[in-house]
Subunit: 450 residues, 2 copies
């Protein structure tokens, strides 16, 4: 077996391999594709469950795997406060910390700073805020938010942005959008200068090992916690670039409040900064659903077709299908998990408030058309009993079902796009804003599980 | 295939088959054996996790199966109050209600009435009490407690007893013991007269189906909810005795407080009433551990060797091994599950209070010698983070591990007895009372999860 040093172009290719997006099928504006990240592949369109502090509340990681969860969202703000970025970094990054050897995305912390913390003060430099846990003082700048995200080591990280409050006047919204653009540039600059500091180990990082096999003819893991760029190849123990040369991927975020021209300008100028993926932020903050769709439309047409598009913090099961129809590839929302903990369950027969007395003697499955481990084993009567008795298992099982419902919806969406049947599929889904208005749980939710 | 009516002696044999206890190996006073119940087989000695209201808090039933849980304990008092006996009966009994197609034991409700409810008033007739949930008034007599347990439909049920308070004077303890004996006789009488009212369905009741195959040459299930004793065999759809002729099994309970002669008398006179199994109750109520062992010893030598012996409400992992050495076959305790929810974890290296800061950066498994799904996947650092962050998953994972530790202990105990190595095994386990005194969680616990 011949071992040799990588050439410069090989190193360049390796770094490029940190992220790739391939579109496999399109129907109308909807796309089905694949994201390739250092911790694995994600089929899009994808719904990302929220695991705020490194856990989807109440659900063990093996159950998430059984459910077919492909990628999780973790909240930088929460992990920064507890257990702290340095702790997670020393433990090898969020994937290793929570034993989730699959892709993870972290938000920038901006949204939580604005929605959860006290006494925040925003300046051009960044945001001073107090912890919602203990009132301690902290500061996030674009640089420090990216540093935190590099320390946490998610596969996809987000530029630090200001989530403009709703409602907001035009001038205020424009100023906020401009600052987000400046922060995006600073985020990118810091990331480019520091992206090699990601804490991943080669050991246990499947794609990196595969990569080592491809390049060096050996899958021999490098020593733990080694971050050296050079290598003594004497014993074949180490390879250059312990993390396989792979880095995280930084997405930009489009803002612009509820003004279509600002959304357009934000999209265009964020694209000029050139990110490998783009998020649309600052929506689902209390505005009516038709407005959300209008703002998505205003932004998305100016985002490049060959890059993934991530709509942050949405939505109901009907809404996410309609956002896919607008060209969205990635979404996250606390709705399925938070609603589950409040006994609100999504089924093929509509919403169910499981505490309702009508279910007390109902021995039928929660959703007869659902194949999840809750619907195939337990009755509505039992789930109602657990919820009424305030039992832990209610929250566990309800969460598993709601996630199954969301993930199954997205599987069917991907399949429909692949087989050119998405238009037909979409026709069977109520218009998002109507479904939303009639839903018992049509509340706007921040991207945090608390 | 020839179908015919069962003969009287076959029917008699079927009813006897509702419960069987076989001892397979003995070493000293310790025994390894098998219980056969209508919902399956239990290898003894066995530890029964507590699933108070029809759930082991936070743990889905498939995980309990993966853990190797053989039999669960449910609390009659709790299920009686919520969702109510009639509801559970209509839903087919506790096994079907909670989708646990394995053996279940219910306690009599007596202990909870004494420990949880308000304003109880004890008379010869029974106990008047108020619900701890809503203050509503209720009454348990031996008859109504057995009726409740028949309605719930556990495989093994318990005579209604008075759990004598501790400490108690000799005269008071003797009077209480005498009343428990009279209640035991009334419990048995009511059970014998009503045991055919158990709500089981043949469908899904594996052993009953097996039985139908053996007797009638067909496993064809009988119609749901049929409780008819007669049958129209025209379509081959129904067989006599829809529940396979099987009934629940009623155990008697030895009381006698902390007086060896009363324990002896209670044991002897309970045995005279002739139960298929005997429990020792009223221990682990605050007395020192050597006293517990003395009382177990005082009672157990007067219990028949060919019947199972169930020591109620014990104990630590060390204690349960020592009780096995005294000849105990069955135990239950909330300790593993309740301690787990309080972050107290049992490991081969001793007790761990997972909130301790020393574990914050500890990436080693909770117990390196444990093969459970918690120890093989997550680090102490992650478990500490979950607990410190008050995350639901902390309670779920901690409970899974503590149960795994208890169940693994009992598996090793059974194996040791089977291979004649129990004396050696026992020598490696600290004396129960010493282990208990040094344990951070050596508190006495009632048999209820709250």
């Amino acid at each position: 077996m011949v071992r040799r040093w990588a050439t410069e172009s090989e190193i360049y290719n390796r770094i490029r391999m940190s992220f790739r997006f391939e579109i496999e099928a399109c129907e109308g504006k909807a796309r089905a594709g694949r994201l390739f990240t250092p911790h694995g592949e994600v089929r899009t369109p994808v719904f990302m469950p929220v695991g705020t502090v490194g856990t989807v509340k109440g659900v063990p990681q093996d159950t998430l795997e059984e459910l077919g969860v492909q990628i999780l969202l973790n909240n930088t703000y929460h992990l920064y406060l507890r257990p702290g970025v340095e702790m997670v970094r020393q433990l090898g990054g969020v994937q290793k910390f929570m034993s989730w050897d699959h892709p993870i995305l972290t938000d920038s912390g901006g949204f939580q700073v604005f929605s959860l913390s006290d006494l925040r003060k925003v300046t051009e430099e960044g945001v001073a805020f107090r912890s919602h846990l203990d009132g301690s003082s902290h500061f996030f700048s674009p640089e420090s938010a990216i540093a935190a995200q590099i320390g946490l080591g998610a596969d996809i990280i987000m530029a630090f942005d200001e989530c403009t409050e709703h409602p907001a006047e035009y001038a205020r919204t424009k100023a906020s959008m401009e600052m987000t653009l400046r922060w995006a540039a600073r985020s990118k600059k810091y990331f480019e200068e520091h992206k090699q500091e990601v804490p991943w180990f080669s050991r246990g990082l499947k794609s990196a090992e595969d990569f080592n096999v491809a390049l060096n003819g050996t899958a021999k893991a490098v020593p733990l916690q080694s971050t050296r760029k050079t290598s003594s190849s004497a014993a074949g123990e180490a390879v250059p670039f312990p993390n396989g040369g792979q880095t995280q991927t930084l997405f930009g975020i489009v803002q612009g409040g509820m003004f279509a021209d600002l959304r357009r300008e934000s999209a265009q100028r964020t694209v000029e900064l050139d990110f490998p993926g783009y998020a649309i932020g600052g929506l689902s903050v209390g505005e009516p659903r038709p407005m959300t769709h209008e703002m998505v439309e205003a932004a998305i047409r100016f985002l490049p077709e060959d890059k993934p598009r991530y709509l942050m913090g949405v939505g109901t099961p009907e809404e996410i299908v309609h956002y896919v129809a607008q060209g969205v590839d990635m979404m996250d929302c606390v709705l399925p998990t938070r609603a589950a903990r409040h006994g609100l369950l999504f089924t093929s027969e509509g919403r169910i408030a499981i505490k309702n007395a009508r279910y007390a003697g109902d021995d039928s499955p929660l959703d007869p058309r659902c194949g999840c481990k809750v619907c195939t084993r337990y009755s509505r009567a039992y789930l109602r009993h657990l919820y009424s008795s305030n039992e832990l298992l209610a929250q566990v099982l309800n969460t598993i079902h709601n996630l199954a419902y969301y993930l199954d919806t997205m599987r069917r969406v991907r399949q429909a796009i692949t087989f050119g049947e998405f238009a037909k599929f979409l026709a069977g889904v109520p218009a998002a804003h109507r479904a939303s208005q009639s839903a018992p749980n049509s509340f706007d939710l921040g991207a945090v599980e608390s």
